[in-house]
Amino acid sequence: MRASFSSESILTPDPSLQEGGKSALRQFCRHIVLALAACFLLAQPAFAVQPDEMLDDPALERRARELSAELRCMVCQNQSIDDSDAELAHDLRVLVRERLKEGDSNEEVLDYVVARYGEFVLLKPRLNMRNALLWGTPVLLLIIGSALAFSTMRMRRGREIAPLTPEEEARLRKLLEEQESGS
């Protein structure tokens, strides 16, 4: 059940595959099967980024790592391509680095990957109407919650008890002092 769930998700959002020949599709499926095997065997020597993938330019490599942490390994369960050792994650890591070498900005790299694999690949969904509720929840709740708390407190303040008179305060202080010395 899991396997079909994952392979569907990869096959549907990618228009380029339908255009590509049957062999490309077959190869892609083989990739998926391999990657699935890697993922579901779970404890594969958990090893993601390989030394031969890494870029020589440290600044570019750092950007590649940052981007990798935001991209999902699509055949895995909640793993970024930076953490995953699946074949597909490897391919995506190489792809990201190739785009960066071409001089793409971070945004352009993400756009490129999304155009190929769909929004499913983003671990941080984009802010759009479809995801409005997702992004809006914290803000909305904070506003509604504070409004509720304040209005409840204000409603109650109407029957607030008068503050202590100076005489009462003096008496209170005396009582407290007595208690203190008694202990």
Binding site: P125, L133, P138, Q179, S183
Partner: protein
Amino acid sequence: MSVELGHFALVLAFALALVQSVVPLYGARKGSLRLMGVGEPAALCGLVLISIAFAALIAAYVQSDFSVANVWENSHSAKPLIYKLTGVWGNHEGSMLLWVLILAIFGGLVALFGRNLPPTLRANVLAVQGFIAAAFLLFILSTSNPFVRLVPAPIEGRDLNPILQDIGLAVHPPLLYLGYVGFSISFSFAVAALIEGRTDAAWARWVRPWTLAAWMFLTGGIAMGSYWAYYELGWGGFWFWDPVENASFLPWLTGTALLHSAIVMERRSALKIWTVLLAILTFSMSLLGTFLVRSGVLTSVHAFATDPTRGVFILTILILFIGGSLALFAWRASALAPGGLFHPISREGALVLNNLFLTTAAATVLVGTLYPLVLESITGEKISVGAPFFNLTFGPLMVPLLAVVPFGPLLAWKRGDLAGVAQRLFAAFGGALFIVLLVYFFIDGASALAALGTGLAFWLIFGALTDLALKSGVGNVGPGVALRRFAGLPRSVFGTALAHAGLGITLLGIVATTTMQSEHILTVKPGETVEIAGYSLRYEGLQPFTGPNYTENRGRFVLTERGRALGDVVSSKRFYSVRQMPTTEAGIRTIGLSQLYVSLGDEIEDGGIVVHIWWKPLVTLIWLGALAMMAGGAVSLLDRRLRIGAPSRRKRAAQAQPEPAE
């Protein structure tokens, strides 16, 4: 034979749970003490029966009785005894049995220690516990029976998932379940209060220690799970925002909120309705977590159970309990009288703020976890919500909350003096600011964010110390008196300070590790040396080794610091032959509070190997802070005020020592 006995005991426990859920409830309604009295013996007998069932399953595992399907699927005769024992709950059926066992233990404790509760409240609480037990026992018996036999019996078992063959499995699930299920007590009390239409300070005094105990266990369970994932998965991460982790984090967030609102209710009898709602929500989150993990609806690294019939069954339980209790809440909450008044600037106000941020954070995590599932089932579209989303939303919610934590305990009840408290926190603030500057200017590579995060962590720690110092009168009285007062402070004051400081310690670990760690990914050959954070690691090559049920290749590294030998770091790649599964065993060396973390990758030709090496500064503080939080909870539990049966002993205690003026 003992397996059938266990099975039979479980069926009997189900029948008994039905009695426990109906008879005391009816008795409370009719005012019959005899009917209400059925609750306690039923709860205690249920505990005995479920213990028998659990013991029977343990015996089957220890004897490697592979005629039991559950044992065959998850054990192996060559497995070390400790993993035979822990393997009992390292699978779906066994872990559900552990779940109901813990539920029965809590129910038994209420029956034993609840003598001083009003009889109707006790009867209603036990009835609600009975309902929960009956639902889950039926679930186990009908969809997840661990006692099913196999004919003919196989010769050898299929072994336990190698990832679970770890001491972590002995500690993590039991602690987590003690937390999850512990909140069922708060839930039962909340529902009982709604049935009776009445809550008072005595109710809160009862609910608070149970909530505190459950919270403590959950804190420990989450921290243990985090450390386990850290060293076992080999990625060096301590929190992945995995849906299963979120499922355990949700009740922790709402449970923390409940802990704080229950204080207001107990001390000031305010926030009654809200506290009852939080108690319901917290256990609902526990149930939701059970559903998410046990149904396999989330396909995540942790999910090792996939079976839709189970999912539907748990979903039904979920809807029944959450929907039922919320409907009861909507219907009856207005019967609960509103309590004491307070000014927004007061201890109560601070705790309301705490609740506002914690519940918003919980809702954010909840929506983030469920959004992809809901969106897909409604529109068929697939999106992913992962760590980058949670870091971006949860982080900003926590910063203001943590920033106001030191104010809370210093504010007076009812009406506080914000300026006065700010003045008293001046030293703590100065100290934190000093730390910010120190980190920013004197630690190489520290960003402004790292400096501010460190400052926030120290603000929490200094704030907690300030609270203790002020409450013992430092500055106002002589050192001798202050010391005497310090020793005489109520345990709960120490508990609060310890837990808040623990939060700061954990934050310090998180900030230091995420912003200042260094990392190397490279290929090494025997004899080559890697330099990291002032340490040298010389790779000595791989050596084969055979364990009881695995073989492994151990990579040995010689660790030196400026020529001084610090011994070996051994990292290995293991292979479990029965399940044909490889695992990595990271080489971890703790130096001070920091850790060196070495993980092995693929071998390449001519004896080289890919290694991933991290230097993780102060990383142990993440979990040490959690231990401090747990200790805070434990100390607080020992407070005279919270001790079970406290009301009866209260008079004598009050004479011996006056309550501090708060």
